[in-house]
């Protein structure tokens, strides 16, 4: 050992600094005390103390999703690690790059059922992209750098490093940042050129093309969104985005069909169903998107560009699979497209657009803003209108409000929209907003929430106060777990089993108790003023909007139905929206 030896805990901090980490979200405990001590002795890395480890992971996700950089989490052993599991699973399903450091009992106690011991690597194995248990201080530095490489390369995801306390105390010298590449893990980012040629050929001959893009475009970086936008404009093709992809193409652009899927627009879903060539870019044919797979885009040739080979041919058989990073693939696609003299049939494309405009004229997102109660859709629409000039960052919880936010808030740029798509984690939004606000102190950050979801991580209000983060929480309070109630209405004869929000706190007093400003709006006439009051306040605001209790999310593809069987509004008396087989689906 050289004289330059430092402790394992200091190696952790040095490696984080060398990886360009400026913020760590965490919660201390016995098994990570040496790392907290090393944090105390330095000024490069800021630690954000959350109030629950799940909040730390979601905050890191919000940070990562809004910056494109990996989020970093630091928690203790046992309950610290198990509390992080939901967040890690969330990050895995939404492909968010995270490095989560967990403390572990000293190596000689591992397996003894020691105090605050759990099998962290065992528990997190299925909910991380990869994980490590560092048993020797000699491996610590290499593992730290490798973890960042694994988390951020290929399809991003969460990586856990479990560090026993004795390893944090042990000393070793620190080499400095190596490239951290894994011995064998090398994700393919560049597409096979012949496949790109084939894709261009298919697209050139398309009469009814559609581009379906997802979160992979956002993960690939802003360049990918720009390239997608260039390509869409160059080709005059229609484009639709998944929930995770919102912002990858400007929502105001007439070529945008809106979001697709279960609560997607009529025009997007019909275009998907009737298209003859589909270009799927960085999306994974999730069951919220496809509806019934055997009736999904039945007459189309499908091109699927994805960085993860296991996403290809998983749910839907495609005709032309291309393994590549979205930006690299789009760059090649544009190059080849430009090199061709041939262009797609203008007449066919004009006819296709005419058909799309017909679908669009259904105005599937129309609602009646009048009435004595505030329509939730209207609340989101007004929030959008009153904040759009400030280029806000929006996070959400999970449920009806999330779908309304996706439908009525318009995103012009990537990295402005953070939501729990794959896992559907209630309680995601506020900690994610905290993470996003930390990364963008000057931005307006709003968590669009429901009164049920927000209570799942309500303790993080305290974190926002501690770090003077002016996050806004915009709660649509319908006194129901709205999406649960909607499904009970459709599937279970309106028997609202346990979906009523009983015994809610007085949110104004709650806001006051935490040191937030509270705003409550019940009268439609006060909506704009309430929103304005929220955004004008230089500090965290809890804005509660009492909305119509019975409103449901439409349009909707009922479970077990195909894209062309979507419902535009409530089913009529006596009609069955969902058949017996559909009822067992989620």
């Amino acid at each position: 050992m050289s004289t330059d030896a430092i402790s394992g805990a200091e190696i952790v901090i040095k490696a984080l600094a060398d990886q360009g980490v400026d913020v760590v979200f965490g919660y201390p405990g016995g098994a990570v005390l040496p790392i907290y001590d090393a944090l105390f002795k330095q000024n490069h890395i800021r630690h954000i103390l959350v109030r629950h480890e799940q909040g730390a992971v979601h905050a890191a996700e919000g940070y990562a999703r809004s910056t494109g950089k990996p989020g970093v989490v630091l928690v203790t052993s046992g309950p610290g690690a198990t509390n992080a599991v939901t967040g890690l699973t969330d990050a895995l399903l939404d492909s968010i790059p995270l490095v989560c450091l967990t403390g572990q009992v000293p190596t000689h106690l591992i397996g003894n059922d020691a105090f605050q011991e759990c099998d962290t690597t065992g528990i997190t194995r299925p909910c991380t992209k990869h994980n490590y248990l560092v048993k020797r201080v000699d491996d610590l530095e290499k593992t730290m750098h490798e973890a960042f490489y694994v988390a951020t390369s290929g399809r991003p995801g969460p990586v856990v490093i479990d560090i026993p306390k004795d390893v944090q105390f042990a000393s070793h010298d620190y080499q400095g940042k190596t490239n951290g590449h894994h011995k064998t893990y090398r994700p393919q980012v560049k597409a096979d050129h012949a496949r790109i040629e084939e894709a261009v050929e298919l697209l050139m001959n398309a009469k009814k093309p559609v581009i379906y893009a997802g979160g992979g475009v956002i993960n690939s970086g802003p360049a990918a969104s720009q390239l997608l936008t260039d390509f869409v404009r160059m080709t005059n093709f229609p484009v639709t985005l998944t929930l995770m992809g919102l912002g990858a193409f400007p929502a105001q652009d007439p070529q945008f069909l809106g979001m697709l899927g279960m609560h997607g627009t009529y025009e997007a879903n019909w275009a998907m169903h009737d298209c003859d060539v589909m270009l799927c870019l960085g999306a994974r044919f999730d069951d919220r998107i496809t509806g019934r797979v055997d009736a999904f885009a039945p007459n189309s040739k499908k091109i699927h560009i994805d960085i993860d080979p296991s996403s290809i041919n998983k749910n839907v058989r495609v005709d032309l699979p291309i393994v590549a990073d979205a930006a690299h693939a789009m760059e090649d696609l544009i190059k080849v497209w430009k090199s061709k003299h041939k262009k797609p049939s203008e007449a066919a494309l004009a006819a296709w657009w005419k058909q799309i405009e017909e679908w669009r004229s259904k105005d599937c997102l129309a609602y009646d803003p009048e009435g004595e109660t505030i329509k939730p859709q209207h609340a989101i629409k007004r929030l959008y209108e009153l904040t759009k000039d400030r280029d806000p960052l929006i996070t959400t919880e999970v449920g009806q409000h999330q779908m309304w936010a996706a439908q009525y808030f318009q995103f012009e740029k990537p990295n402005r929209w953070m939501t729990s798509g794959g896992l559907g984690t209630m309680g995601y939004g506020m900690p994610a907003a905290i993470g996003a606000q930390l990364a963008h102190p000057e931005k307006l950050v709003i968590d669009i929430a429901g009164e049920a979801s927000i209570l799942m991580n309500i303790q993080e209000m305290s974190t926002a106060v501690q770090y003077r983060l002016p996050v806004k929480v915009f709660v649509l309070n319908n006194q129901y777990m709205g999406m649960v109630r909607q499904w009970q209405e459709l599937l279970h004869g309106s028997r609202y089993s346990e979906s009523y929000s009983e015994a809610l706190p007085d949110f104004l007093k709650l806001a006051e108790a935490y040191g937030w400003k509270g705003v409550r709006v019940t009268d439609p006439a006060d909506l704009d003023a309430g929103i304005q009051e929220m955004i004008d306040h230089d500090g965290p605001v809890f804005c509660e909007i009492a909305v119509d209790q019975s409103e449901n999310c439409y349009p909707m593809i009922p479970s077990g139905a195909a894209h062309n069987e979507m419902l535009l509004g409530p089913v009529q008396e006596g009609e069955e929206a969902i058949d017996e087989k559909g009822k067992v689906l989620v």
Binding site: D308, P309, S310, I312, K314, N315, P321, G560
Partner: protein, 192 residues
């Protein structure tokens, strides 16, 4: 990385949440050789992938195969539709410590062997008969007492099955089987 398109014309949609057609597509037995880093937890990753995603494991063997013991080879026999088999390969390749995955059933001719130790408890005629049958199957005697034999038999799984079946008819039997090990035919060496 080779990803095939829908090579089989009649390939059905896979079994996602929204499929109502009962999956009648032919299920086939495939043998995989998976080359992995010999590190703690790697076997748990592979097994966890199979159980977590609902794939079958018919047999699994694992051992280090390089001089420096840095690399292991896992042989897995599994059963699934063409789509599931393709997905298993892709999912295995996605694991960080996995170097490469070979679907030996698709890649070409290969040798599959299994080894078993079969203890037969029998006396008199049954005992003599067991020895005679062992001779026919070219099983060797690994241990003996006055009322038992332990036979060592190797070969294809069917041969081992059939031998064990014969022994069951002769007395009380205890079986230890290794599971399938497999390697491609020909002179090509699979890189690790």
């Amino acid at each position: 990385m080779a990803i095939s398109g829908p090579s089989e014309k009649n390939a059905k949609q896979p079994g996602a949440a929204y499929e109502f057609i009962s999956n009648t597509e032919d299920k086939r037995r495939h043998t995989f050789a998976v080359i992995v880093d010999n590190e703690p937890g790697v076997l748990a990753r592979v097994i966890g992938l199979f159980s977590g995603r609902g794939y079958n494991i018919e047999s699994l063997t694992v051992s280090t195969v390089t001089e420096d013991e840095s690399t292991s080879r896992i042989n897995i026999v599994t059963i699934g539709t063409a789509m599931v088999i393709e997905q298993i390969k892709a999912q295995l390749e996605r694991l960080v410590p996995v170097h490469n995955v070979h679907d030996l059933t698709i890649e070409g001719p290969h040798v599959e062997k299994e080894l078993a130790l079969v203890k037969v408890k029998a006396t008199d005629h049954q005992r003599r008969e067991s020895l005679r049958i062992a001779d026919i199957y070219k099983a060797r005697v690994a241990d003996t007492t006055l009322e038992s034999f332990v036979f060592l038999i190797d070969g294809e799984a069917e041969k081992v099955d059939s031998f064990i079946e014969m022994m069951r008819a002769l007395g009380e039997v205890e079986v230890a089987r290794s599971g399938v090990v497999a390697i491609s035919r020909g002179s090509t060496i699979t890189p690790v």
